[in-house]
Symmetry: D2
């Protein structure tokens, strides 16, 4: 019986089977953005009773996972921006991570993020059991210049802003007794800024994390001496931090010039 | 301050930013194979003290996750084959899952598998805490015909066979007191079948899961009546099973004609 | 001055510049169709006073070029189908022409066809000078099975049929004194078969080339002896021919089984 | 008979057949280089008795075709560089020619160039009949910045320089009575600059076209008034010129700032 199996083995030609594989490589010297999104998180957030419109625990869990991703790929990922159940990771334009193979880059980041999400769930939702395995999908996009990359990040932050305004109004209406369908109807086509005033929402006092999303990056140490005292190599200096700030204007980028600096 | 932010918003043009996105679609009416692999599982298996050369708990955990993947995508994934820390999922050639977008298909399967792996870890490793978040990478390949698809699966099973022969010898040598480097040296270029005889390894009595890998698929119910009595639609009939058998010869495929049947 | 130029030379790193090149390879063991189309041939045909709705000289020139393409790539291209200013070339599924690189395959076929078109122009339009360099564009598509490939060819022949019915009616109306806009208006949404009857067009007596398009392929020699008598190798036996026949039904393919035979 | 044909027609589903088509789009806002190369020009040049190592008529014909290409796509192609039987066309980074579809861009440029080459052959080779249809192949590459684009062009000009040094030595040796194989052998691994001195080749007095290749671009008119006097729109001002100069140093680019200017 094994004899027959072994005979069959000799007929298998790996090279021909492997010839069907293809590597779509991301064009060199462009900024790579890997954006991941929660799969069916509408259902997931309801089942796990996320606070609406924003659940601090869920957002902090997302941020914690994103920080882990940066720590896992310290030479390649320079920035991440997250809002709701999505996160965008920016790989520096000179990265050669996995020889810039799209599948490998996307799948590894998505899997690592998801894995961390499950492992750390209990740290953020101590009262609530994970009811089924959550998952994320991802995609990679190349941007040829810093200007376009910043336009991408601005687009995501504008999305955050608009969605948060909408959701703040929507859930205020629901809290006031409106049914979801009515709330939706009443917001259709309306100017959100106006609605916020009408509904007496003190928008600016909402946490910055809700209004601005979360920016994750390596804190640049000023004092290199500290590092040397610790006996660590200068490379390990610094730590990953999360901030909630305007990344559309140039102020943030002028304050943190090292994040998108062109040099390796 | 917000005023400035809001002004900036109006300058962001989503259409232009989105124009950089691209979808690489997998060619229609071809069989899609998504193969996932553990990332740095050499280190992971050492740290979590996997039994060598094969750890039943680890393999059963892999199988359990693969079964979950089939249950999650019952209309699209028709078969899976796993060995060691890798798994290949076969999507039927008529699938339109995610409009056949490669990134979406690969990232979703990889993330769902990884998530399930972490969630079920304690079911298989009750004594051993997960020391860090494991992850997997993945890729998609298209095969234009059943013959080539079966050549692919044969290639993976041959790989399983050869690796298992090698590892059985290697760890026997190590168990007998040889250092790893010596064991490696002594196997270099040698005929494995001969070595197995020399080392008195009773290869055929090893568990079939080690020798043949694991095949996961929907068990076809013979008796449709049972299903109707349960009041369930005929679609929900059947359950996912795992077997350890020769998938190189045609016997298996003749016994289970529905797995690769061309009809939708 | 040259000194400076030579110094600059040493700073040029070809490997890095070449790293931006990418080869999109066409998936192995699928049928490749390269379809080429005349660029701005509406204008080209007016300027060179093509007879309407079909110009025999122009079609014969197209056919002659297609025959040349088959002769140029005798091991790779097995069939071609042409209508109006377009031609589809079928590469057999086992071809490894240019290692199946899409750009190379498409550009070479398009350039060779165009070049031949210009060179042979005077053979078909002896009275009419070429007023400017005509050109064609092209694209490649992969089809995973003979059935789908035949569906592709059927699609092109249906297109030929419908366009020819329409054009026959249109130019009959114009010939009868209608202005082009009127003719167009009167055909809008009408059933073409009915219109043909109304206008008393003897459609079936039109040349088969107009109604069925042109099929180009290698004529299979029945009598191998003839070849051997000529002292030629059996490979060089046969010649490229053009026929105007139904390629939608299976009759044609049954009569010429060697065209799409799966064996090399 | 037609009845059966018409019945078949209704079974053809164009949407499904068209679903196999794919468009590989070139990433937006990057510089596109389309490089074309003569197919089998070694043989072509021998058969048509090109002067060695450089045939002025052949190079002038190439340049004439390249100029035509720029005139055909005045809003899209801003520069071209040619040497021997190859030409590189630079499309400005904001171009939306054919929606940046790679196949369409490459095939159209290659076909137009080839067509022009055949049409103008007799203008440059009045004594010599074209013995068979010449053809070219082509490919597209994207470069994300001006710096990298200039590195690409430098690479091509360095290639021109090295090949021309080699060929000058080779043909001098052949002229002096060496057989081709001997000449080849004697140049193997030798320093070309040294060999040039040894062979007393007055390299710097060779025509600049041989040493530097050919650069093709739009001449910028200084005096817009001239144009208006001609009654032409300002857009049509200017004409395509060819120069033979150093494009590796920055001198050329500083003199012609409009060629690679980033603005539309």
């Amino acid at each position: 019986e094994l004899g027959c199996f072994v005979e069959d083995i000799d007929n298998v030609k790996p090279e021909y089977v492997k010839s069907f594989e293809f590597d779509s490589k991301l064009i060199p010297l462009t900024w790579i953005v890997v954006r991941i999104d929660g799969c069916h998180f509408h259902r997931f957030s309801e089942l796990h009773e996320f606070v609406k419109p924003n659940d601090e625990r869920a957002l902090n869990l997302m941020n914690s996972c994103a920080m882990s991703v940066l720590e896992e790929f310290p030479r390649d990922i320079v920035f991440a921006y997250g809002v709701s159940d999505e996160y965008s990771f920016i790989l520096k334009k000179t990265t050669d991570l996995f020889q810039r193979r799209a599948s490998k880059i996307v799948s590894t980041i998505v899997a690592f993020f998801t894995s961390t999400y499950v492992v750390r769930w209990k740290d953020f939702f101590s009262q609530s059991e994970l009811k089924y395995p959550p998952s994320f999908d991802g995609r990679a996009v190349c941007y040829p210049s810093i200007e376009i990359l910043r336009d991408y990040l601005s687009w995501r932050q504008v999305d955050c802003h608009i969605n948060n305004q909408y959701n703040s109004c929507f859930w205020k209406l629901v809290a006031s007794g409106k049914r979801k369908k009515e709330a939706q109807q009443s917001l259709k086509g309306s100017q959100l800024q106006k609605k916020i005033d009408e509904l007496a929402i003190d928008y600016n006092s909402l946490p910055a994390m809700f209004r601005q999303g979360s920016s994750v990056f390596w804190e640049k140490m000023d004092n290199v001496l500290t590092c040397q005292q610790n006996g660590k190599s200068s490379e390990s200096c610094g730590r990953v931090i999360v901030e909630h700030c305007d990344i559309i204007g140039s102020g943030f980028w002028l304050e943190h010039p090292s994040i998108l600096e062109e040099k390796q």
